[in-house]
Subunit: 473 residues, 2 copies
């Protein structure tokens, strides 16, 4: 695939078809990503205000074989939003000026938002209509819904409400050659042809650019009950989830695992944050019930606690007694990634395994890593979905750079074990540019063949986010 | 695309690579479909017992450009399972000998079933493990799970649990060139590349053959409460659903609309069935709550009834007072399509509109049809999903054939109105061979372009179910 860098001729020709301030020099912030693993390049920044302008831009890039990097909030963790030096200089296409909530229909429980809408604003618009848009993640103050959909974001409420793809009823998108697809359906059922919505969702900008989405809204639970519950080990946490499900059905909104190391890192990074336990527990879960009927405050979770205590599944607990305390509990959970960043990970793994295998995986991974290194592990995350963030850190007194030579081996140990347990090397972050070799190593050959065929069919010149998902560009 | 009929040379060559009884003459039952709109042709019947045999068969058909009609339970309502005279004679590929439940894992709430497993057997296997597989439809005694997935079947519990695609975690499939894709994931979260699962689901056998699926299981509700509630009109039914949602959240398992005509047809076709109302109500809903906690029998639905009565949304009701009566209520609802078949529809429409538009759509469609004809309408179905079966019947004393010349116009009137309300001309039955012209008329051009590109990429010789979805073959 021979791609061409953005050059003056291209910019001059394209700008003739766009409003004056649409094309701009690339500011440095578009070339950074949160974990600072990749430094990006960009020949020009495009800030379209309409879907038609996006179409004009893609059509020109397609004709000129100019690569395009679609840009949402820039919060992705696998480098899908930055193109490293070495190839043709891309046009960076940011949707930030297409951030309108086009409509909120509380009665039909549907919202239509443009791709550049910030996730927190989408949540707030739903809230204003007394509905819930349940996608919730640490970066929600800057992540944009188009990026959330392009990467099929997960987050805290997947257990109950599903991933980003499950929250989307339809898309408006521009295909790589500039063709507009108006698929902004608001229907719950539509069997009129291939499911293109789910093909674009999770394609990480390699098959087209999402410009707007119709999103599912939900009734807001009548009451929340939230608690940290101390469990003896991850197996007990899985059993506790099963017990809770028997008691509350779909009303469990979140079920998050935290490890002792999470509390230690929080204490180090945010000493001002109050922790609920005098001594950091080896393992605990943060459970949240979103109840459809309001009972006495804390009643439901206390009933669960009693049953779980009897079954030997919990040892201690802290129930949030006010909305303020609930927010504080969530603040602790959501600050774990920030604390990790302050410590500085050797290697970060966003993995999933079948939920029944979580206990075995954690034990085996710890043992295998202990054999080769003195590193520290922070294992936490969305246990209810079988999704753990299994991140490796330097031993106390050591630096990331001390582990530089082992990085690949450590990753290999974790991901091979994940594969042995029929898991995924990326549960919610995607493949991006950082995990393309994992996809080659662990991906089913039939799947890879099918993916390449689809990519070649929809983006024959390979202009869309080259290097993302497919290592070969 | 020039396809070749199955001939003796092809059969001889292929049979050398398959166990002896795999290829057989085509029995007449494989050439029929429930509504008798299409009479099929078939050159040979293949009954593979393994995924590898399916791969061998597709590889040979791909090489020889022989068309393939994948065959599940034969219950589809849009002719996707039969190829009409006129083109090359296909190989009919029935999955009926691949009907094994490979595994049921109650703890992880996952089952793996082969494509030929009958839906009722899949439900029973879940039940035996004290779990629920919620896909439920009238044809479940003969429909097979592979066909349910290929057509993204809907049915009675979509409101709560989603369509077939929402119940599937992963697929094993054979691609048109014989490549095997092992995608039998049991993960709730997996962001490692394109969503091929959802591309094959709903593709109606045009992109490959599903050979097995991993399926989501759910906790069985602790108690069901079921009732027919009489409503003044469809708008009130929509408002009643909203009220019920506020009261019971996700615990509403089904919410079905029935019209006076449904009761009249039932009385005519099944006079022995006991009806719950002395006089058939103009409109009523069948609501079922699947409660996560057992209360006093009927308590929840009676509480809803009291609130709804106060709000003027219901006028009368009949609550099932035993499991036997619950089954009887469902028997009535599920017999409506059979009653319709005995009357003989002029035209059947499986449509969806945004749920807030249901009242307007029904009123406008009745008015528009009354202007041109004296026909009878039976409008019933999955109101909670915005999905109605809006079927047209001869006036009393007239025959289907009396309306032969108007059939296309009548369909056009209904589907144009559906499109005007941003609806879909096929909500759950698919496109098949009977609705290809609707897809061309109502499909977004960008969507059609994308679909054709994907089809050409994955099935370059066009052997898979030609004439289905794409009219052009």
């Amino acid at each position: 695939m021979s791609l061409r860098s953005v050059d003056t001729d291209f910019i001059t020709a394209l700008s003739a078809h766009l409003p004056q301030d649409t094309l701009r020099p690339v500011e440095p912030r578009y070339l950074e990503e949160p974990r600072a693993r990749i430094e990006g390049i960009g020949g020009i920044l495009a800030l379209p205000k309409t879907t038609q302008e996006v179409a004009t831009i893609l059509k020109a890039c397609h004709a000129a074989h100019v690569p395009v990097v679609p840009y949402g909030g820039g919060t992705g963790l696998v480098g899908g939003q930055v193109m490293p030096r070495g190839g043709a200089e891309p046009l960076i296409l940011s949707l930030e000026r297409m951030a309108r909530i086009r409509k909120v229909d509380a009665a039909s429980a549907v919202m239509v938002a443009e791709a550049g809408a910030i996730l927190a604003d989408v949540q707030a618009a739903a809230e204003a209509a007394e509905r819930l848009f349940p996608l919730s993640l640490a970066a929600q103050g800057s992540a944009r819904i188009g990026g959330n959909l392009a990467t099929n974001a997960g987050g805290l409420n997947v257990l109950r409400y599903g991933n980003a793809r499950d929250l989307c009823l339809g898309l408006e998108a521009v295909l790589p050659d500039g063709t507009l697809w108006n698929g902004l359906s608001e229907l719950r059922k539509d069997n009129t042809g291939y499911d293109l919505k789910n093909l674009l969702i999770g394609a990480e900008g390699t098959l087209g650019v999402i410009t707007a989405a119709s999103l599912k809204l939900f009734p807001r639970p009548a009451a929340y009950e939230t608690a940290f519950l101390v469990v003896p080990d991850p197996e007990a946490a899985v059993a506790l989830l099963s017990l809770a499900r028997g008691q509350f059905g779909e009303q469990i909104s979140a079920f998050e695992l935290m490890q002792q190391q999470s509390w230690n890192f929080l204490a180090h990074a945010f000493p001002e944050m109050r922790q609920p336990f005098a001594e950091a527990p080896a393992w605990c879960v943060l459970i949240e019930l979103g109840l459809s009927q309001q009972g006495a405050p804390g009643e439901a979770i206390e009933a669960l606690f009693v049953n779980a205590l009897e079954a030997g599944l919990v040892q201690d607990g802290a129930v949030a007694t006010s909305e303020q305390q609930r927010q504080q509990f969530w603040g602790l959970r959501e600050s774990v990634p920030l604390a990790n960043r302050k410590i500085g990970a050797i290697s970060s793994h966003d993995i999933s395994v079948p939920i029944a295998r979580i206990g075995a995986f954690v034990a085996e991974a710890r043992a295998a890593l202990a054999k080769v290194s003195d590193l520290r592990i922070n294992c936490f995350g969305h246990l209810g979905d079988g999704n753990l963030h299994f991140n490796l850190f330097p031993a106390e007194g050591k630096k990331r750079s001390d582990y530089k030579d082992m990085q690949d081996d450590l990753k290999r140990i974790v991901h091979d074990l994940v594969a042995a347990h029929n898991g995924a090397f990326s549960a919610e972050h995607g493949v991006g540019r950082l995990k393309t070799s994992d996809l080659l190593r662990y991906g089913d050959p039939g799947k890879l063949a099918m993916m390449r065929a689809v990519k070649a069919a929809l983006d024959p010149h390979g202009i869309m986010n080259p290097g993302v998902i497919f290592a070969e560009g």
